[in-house]
């Protein structure tokens, strides 16, 4: 199951429905392949600039 990347971008969880290779959203006008969905997920994740960064307790004290 995949969530709609457009709805996810506005913090709403909506599971995509499938029509053959095409996934589509019942809540908004998004439709696309799984590849497109995952590319949009990756775009969304860019906002989490530190998602790969461990900030330890000691580092948080200094932050």
């Amino acid at each position: 199951m995949l969530r709609c990347p457009v709805c996810f971008a506005r913090e709403n969880d909506v599971v995509l429905l499938r029509n053959g290779e095409t996934l589509y959203c019942v809540k908004c006008s998004f439709e696309g392949t799984e590849k497109v969905v995952r590319e949009l997920y990756a775009d969304q994740q860019k906002k989490y600039r530190w998602r790969a960064r461990r900030v330890t307790l000691e580092e948080q004290r200094e932050l």
Partner: protein, 579 residues
């Protein structure tokens, strides 16, 4: 020291059995203490009961009650039912809670010590205590869960428990989300929040994206497969609070089995989800081995908490943002009279303010005035109610406006951080980094803000001009009342000025203003939430005003105007009182 509770819920259907067994195995293999909160449906299932009894016998798991999958409503003819206990009418709460407790007693031969629900209101907790005095601790609410989770769950998740503590508390008899003032006000149990939420991102976004449950972090897509440092950053955000709370920090982990496999909100493969959970638990074991954390079952934690933390003790949190990569600071202060959020990125403006002093009686359910809206009302909520100005006018917030010649600058447009937090028996002091402001003629000033939280709803705001010429300075509070993102009716609010010419007006959305010279207090009395909010000074300020809003700007504004002199401190009281 970090104290943590690890709770599991049993499988709700056969498909979840493997996931539940896996969670249990992970915890037991790591030697972690587990509390199992059991729903009514599971109590009625002999196979599940036998499994739970095995865990209690073999591993010493504590067994308690989770109020979900409840017995059908008495008058239900078609099998429909509310899924959650908090939404039932009081008489149904009584009937259901009794039925569940009876079932627990029949099944295990004892009454529970620990219970939980995403929200347990004061009426539910009273019923629980009356029917089972053995109950010592409850999972009673979800910190800052409300409007945004409602939106995020397709406008279909009716849990509104905003405005509550982020860490364990003693719930009040008349409102379980408010910390009790004293023994007579307390329900007689310890309450803990459901999961520990990111104290930055739960204010700015969905709390169910940023919580101490790996699947929540996956739901936010804040991990890259097994690479998930944010999860540990979040635990450490809570560990950091020991520095400011006499060595006490707390994390709550409560995981149902549904997340572990094929969950709609998790886009990672099951092996990643399960691997993340095991690594997450391992982190706590590592901390425990280093002497930096202690795992406790719910009963044990309730005893520890009651022994070590007295009713009415203020809690604070300094939260630093660690996912978007700003490192911004928020400071939370909470006692039995107020909950305050200081937004240092907006010059130290108050971004959220809850008047616990009002001791508002409220619970939720089909027969109540509140219906779903259990959240403790706010006076200021700068996320929902505009805050700093953009688009049209500003909304609920505080700030300092400084004027040089004819130009006015807003401290809320200057980013700062927390410079120092000092805890003392009767005061918490928060000092912020100096705010540098430069006027268009090149004149620069540096202003330091200090909040002194003195309890009983009294906050002393100190503004010190560190550098620059004397300035006119306006202490500014724009507020309202509300429980959601939408405005509530402000008619009946009374605005008053006490000064050379005193006056008052009843709020009527007519954009009026009362202004006076030589002012000692400006205030709003809000009967809807039995609250008075005021700005006061020990020595009369040059002038002050109360400003009525209008329908397109439904707020009231309190101002105190004076001169901020070089090297001097301008002190203004912000007071929250019960009407």
């Amino acid at each position: 020291m970090l104290y943590f509770n690890l709770l599991h819920r049993p499988a709700e259907n056969p498909a979840q059995r493997k996931s539940f067994a896996l969670q249990q195995k992970m915890a037991h293999d790591l030697g972690l203490k587990v509390t199992l909160l059991v729903d009514y449906q599971s109590l009625c299932d002999p196979e599940t009961v036998a499994e739970l009894q095995g865990y209690a016998r073999d591993f010493g798991d504590e067994l308690g009650v989770w109020f979900m999958n409840l017995p059908p409503a008495a008058d239900s003819t078609d099998g429909r039912r509310e899924p959650f206990i908090w939404l039932y009418a009081d008489d149904e709460k009584q009937r259901i809670i009794k039925q569940v407790l009876d079932r627990f007693h029949t099944t295990f031969g004892v009454d529970p010590v620990s219970v939980g629900s995403y929200h347990l209101d004061a009426v539910s907790l009273q019923i629980l205590k009356e029917l089972a005095p053995s109950i010592q601790i409850a999972v009673a609410g979800c910190f800052e869960e409300g409007v945004r989770v409602f939106h995020g769950c397709n406008n279909s998740w009716y849990l509104f428990s905003e405005g509550m503590p982020w860490s364990p508390w003693y719930p009040s008899k008349n409102n379980s989300l408010r910390p009790a003032q004293d023994e007579s006000d307390a329900l007689g149990i310890v309450a803990v929040p459901h999961l520990s939420r990111d104290l930055v991102l739960s204010y700015e976004g969905r709390n169910d994206f940023f919580a101490t449950h790996p699947a929540n972090v996956q739901r936010a897509m804040a991990n890259d497969g097994m690479n998930n440092p944010y999860m540990y950053n979040l635990v450490d955000q809570h560990r950091l609070q020991a520095d400011f709370n006499d060595g006490f920090a707390y994390v709550h982990i409560f995981v149902g089995p549904a997340w572990m496999s094929n969950d709609a909100s998790v886009q990672d493969p099951d092996e990643v989800t399960q691997g993340l959970y095991r690594e997450f638990l391992q982190y706590f074991v590592n901390l425990r081995e280093q002497g930096q954390a202690a795992d406790m079952q719910m009963r044990e934690f309730a005893d520890w908490y009651k022994t070590n933390l007295p009713i009415g003790k203020p809690q604070v949190a300094l939260a630093k943002e660690m996912l978007y990569g700003t490192g911004k600071h928020y400071f939370w202060y909470l006692d039995a009279f107020t909950r305050v959020l200081v937004d240092t990125t907006q010059g130290g403006s108050i971004g959220d303010l809850r008047p616990y002093a009002a001791q508002l009686e409220s619970h939720v359910g089909a027969n109540t005035k509140a219906l779903w809206f259990g959240s403790y009302p706010y006076l200021i909520q700068s996320q929902y109610r505009t805050g700093n100005s953009h688009h049209f006018a500003d909304g609920s917030r505080t700030t300092l406006l400084v004027t040089h010649k004819d130009e006015t600058l807003d401290l809320a447009n200057v980013r700062g951080k927390v410079a120092e937090v000092i805890r003392a028996e009767s005061e918490t002091t928060l000092r912020l980094t100096p705010a540098q402001l430069t006027f268009s003629d090149g004149t620069s000033v540096s202003i330091e803000t200090t909040y002194r939280f003195l309890g009983s709803g009294k906050i002393l705001i100190e503004r010190k001009l560190l550098e620059g010429e004397d300035l006119r300075a306006q202490e500014y509070v724009k507020a309202c009342w509300g429980v959601t993102e939408y405005p509530e009716d402000l008619r009946d609010v009374i605005l008053t000025v006490s000064g050379q010419t005193s006056g008052e007006m009843r709020y009527d959305y007519r954009s009026r203003e009362i202004r006076s010279e030589t002012v000692s207090a400006v205030a709003a009395r809000i009967p809807q939430i039995q609250t008075k909010i005021s700005l006061e000074t020990d020595e009369a300020r040059e002038s002050g005003s109360v400003i009525e809003g209008y329908l397109f700007s439904p707020y009231f504004t309190l101002t105190m105007n004076g001169v901020l002199r070089a090297g001097k401190v301008l002190r203004t009281w912000l007071k929250i009182e019960k009407l």
